[in-house]
Symmetry: C2
Subunit: 425 residues, 2 copies
């Protein structure tokens, strides 16, 4: 079905809160075969909300309204809907009971405001605490959902999508896959795929920079499930053979999750030594549930003393080549691998900026090393961008190198920021 999303809240127009909720809802709806044709964001302004609500009701087959259902004084959705659609607010005693329960359990005062809903509202989750409801108006189901992302997602998945599926007779079959690429620019990615996307009107290919990666999302849709599956399979095969080694993850599997899975499958473990990335690499690895199975330790050796004490970097190496150098990166990776007794060690040392650069080693110069019991290799990289971007690129490049090694046995990092094998390594 074709629907629209209306997001309500001054905070969304003031730019302080990014509207992640609408994106999440749109993604879920698309994956279930629906199409979102418009997302409109308005403030806590009764006239504007009324106009948007009426406009969307004229165009859409269903409507999702998020935000403004909460207990605070700037939550006005229910009152405005009551006015705009001519449905006076009515007290829902069951909702009121749940509010009282929650207050009694120590959740703090909430107030009974959230129990007053527009006449005809059907509460979506009678057992839950969030006050989402559905209202059918002029034949169009309007779903009113909380603006908090996980509450919205919960309602959407368990209440809204099943209802829409029952209503929908012209449902499209949709297959979609996200390829996460690292090491190619968006233009390079588009260049390789440009001809492909013109071939078939049932297929679409989107390009989305998701720093430091580029996402390629391929979608196939149509009314014949088998046909959709065949076209989708062919396109995915084509993308896989075009980008092969640059694919760092697929769909929900992030680069760090893939590295974790590869290590786990081989019984391998890794330890990391970081300077300019300051813990970001370790933090990415340990975001993944179960990472204690493949991650032993990380040393954030910001000072030279820490590099010597915990990683066994030789003071003479620091003296001769400087802390930002290939030999130091190598000794960091090897040192942490030996200290941890793991099969893999990664080392990163560089200049994230904004200060600290020189003519020979400008801001963005980063040395990364991969160490295994067989070999320790180091590469110099020249990353562009701000401090945060350089840190993100360096952590990603190190993880990606380990992935390449685990998948292909390579000791060479493969992408456009690698400035060749490091001198003095």
């Amino acid at each position: 079905m074709r629907g629209e999303i209306l997001a309500i809240g001054d905070e969304l127009l003031a730019g302080r809160v990014v509207n992640t909720t609408s994106s999440l809802a749109a993604e879920r709806l698309l994956a279930s075969g629906h199409t979102v044709t418009r997302i409109t964001t308005v403030g806590d302004d009764p006239a504007a909300i009324t106009e948007c609500l009426r406009g969307a009701l004229r165009r859409a087959e269903f409507l999702l309204v998020s935000g403004g259902l909460g207990p605070t004084s700037d939550d006005i959705t229910n009152e405005v809907v009551a006015q705009a659609l001519g449905r006076p607010l009515v007290c829902y005693p069951d909702v009121l009971d749940r509010i009282r329960e929650s207050e009694a359990e120590g959740g703090g005062p909430i107030g009974e405001k959230m129990a007053w809903l527009p006449e005809g509202a059907e509460v979506l989750n009678p057992e839950g605490r969030a006050a989402g409801y559905v209202l059918e108006h002029a034949g169009v189901p309007i779903f009113f959902l909380p603006g908090v992302p996980d509450q919205l997602e919960d309602h959407l998945v368990h209440r809204v999508l099943p209802r829409l599926a029952r209503l929908d007779h012209r449902r499209l079959h949709v297959r979609s896959r996200t390829f996460r690429l690292f090491g190619l620019s968006e233009t390079e990615v588009n260049g390789r795929l440009r001809d492909r996307e013109r071939e078939d009107p049932h297929l679409s290919i989107g390009y989305y920079p998701n720093f430091p990666e580029v996402f390629v999302v391929v979608t196939a849709q149509g009314h014949d499930a088998a046909d959709v599956a065949r076209r989708f399979g062919d396109l995915c095969d084509a993308v896989t053979s075009l980008f092969g080694e640059f694919i760092v993850g697929i769909d929900e599997e992030t680069l760090e999750a893939r590295v974790g899975r590869l290590l786990s499958e081989r019984g391998g473990r890794v330890a990391v030594a970081e300077s300019c990335t300051g813990g970001l690499l370790a933090s990415r690895i340990t975001r993944v549930p179960g990472s204690s199975g493949w991650f032993d330790r990380g040393i954030v050796a910001y000072s030279n003393a820490a590099k010597v004490a915990h990683l066994g970097v030789a003071p003479a190496t620091l003296e001769r080549f400087g802390a930002v150098s290939a030999p130091v990166a190598g000794e960091m990776a090897e040192g942490v691998r030996r200290a941890a007794g793991t099969g893999y060690g990664l080392g990163i040392t560089g200049i994230a900026g904004p200060t600290g650069g020189s003519r020979h080693k400008p801001v963005g110069t980063v040395y990364i090393s991969l160490s295994t019991p067989e070999k320790t290799a180091a590469h110099r990289f020249a990353f562009p961008g701000t401090r945060g971007e350089i840190q993100a690129l360096a952590a990603e490049a190190a993880l990606d190198w380990l992935r390449r090694h685990l998948e292909h046995g390579s000791y060479v990092p493969g992408h456009r920021f690698a400035a060749g094998p490091a001198e003095g390594a």
Copy 2:
């Protein structure tokens, strides 16, 4: 002036890319005294873009259109605008020259598509590479800007805002401040301020959960600058005295930046030892430019062996109390402080989940320790949420404890997740 934003791109409706650009633009416009009344997001669909463009032109005094100006085949904004407003595409030779230059410098192939703009377009930055332009239509300036956040911000700040200021005769004076709070729920924050916001129609107070913090944004506006400044000052004073110790940062100053500033002012330095946060604490500290001045090292001691080797945690302590315990947190904080020779040490050990919890130490149990040469204190916390949320709360609570100590000399962390002084500490 009152304006609207129109964001174009299938990726925004498919939910894969969150529309951060519109939020950024809205925030900048508000800070310059303009009001954004609506943000509309549509896909790469000529009919929908045309309808939205015409609707916004009827309502708004200015219009910002972002996205779809790039070189890839799904970038169709210029063609659609040409059709919708009856302005045929014309080749801009200066833009074409810059594209050729960029290609010659090794930026990869771009193609000349970006040089064809609707008739009457005025290129916003003739020296720049991004193809933003302005078109005046029926008396309404329409700014077409690239969808990439930093390119959009650059155009907005240096080209769009100065033009709007020249056009605007009824400009509002706006003062706004964001208070970043940690340790109170949104309802608690709202409860303390509820009466205050009803007093004065020139003031507004917004509440925005920005996990794990709650932001309170106070805004004063009016046509008399002195009056606005007075009301704004009074309101800020009131918020400061209401929330005092819970304010962890103001406006752009994050908690980690504030901790860095406080350490820097005192010549103090910190080192950290992390288990369940896996490097997140070190990563937050080192995001701040200049952090090498106050941060020495971080040890991500995931394994017990790492806790013993780098932090000097006694095997007997691990044996007797377990790795997730107050004594181990204390030995971690003290150990890293001694190893680094810094005045402050932070230690974190806990169970981030989703597995690993027990009846006495369920998922979310985290021990945090602050160590100084005078004293080492440890506290037990019970954090709710997912693995990522527990990690974020623990890193925030540790940083916040150090902030409280630096500001008030306290050895007690102050917030609702602290489950009292740790047993066995």
